[in-house]
Symmetry: C2
Subunit: 80 residues, 2 copies
């Protein structure tokens, strides 16, 4: 995961490569389900061959412990 700070807001970002658009979209849906269960939602950018997941906590304009947990769960989901 990369620590980025657009407009001073710390965020965790990772690009997951896939073979095509639909595989990236499938992963977006799996992450969406994970997010729904945790009631904590990332930004998900789907493009041909990759999905970019970005976690941060809107209310504190930065990173909370929970974002690191969600990042780890995203990796786990990707590994399944």
């Amino acid at each position: 995961w990369l620590l980025i700070s657009p407009d001073g807001v710390d965020q965790l970002e990772k690009v997951y490569p896939f073979q095509d658009f639909n595989q990236a979209l499938d992963f977006a849906n799996a992450v969406g389900e994970l997010a729904q269960g945790a009631n904590h939602h990332p930004a998900i950018l789907v493009e041909w061959g990759k999905a970019t997941i970005t976690w941060w906590t809107h209310t504190i304009h930065g990173l909370h412990r929970n974002d690191f947990v969600m990042a780890a769960k995203t990796d786990y989901l990707h590994g399944k």
Copy 2:
């Protein structure tokens, strides 16, 4: 639709507001199906309450007539 030119690449971009994350993700899936049928794929950014759709043609690093057609079809899909 907004005409943007990140790194000199002309693109059509539009932000569609939704009531929550799942509605935005549902729209992403509908646009993904449209894209699959046309074999032309946008960038789709899903966030809580909005989906941002960006169309351009990678091979020409800019806009082709087809991108405008896809933009219109995206609007139609949203209106349904």
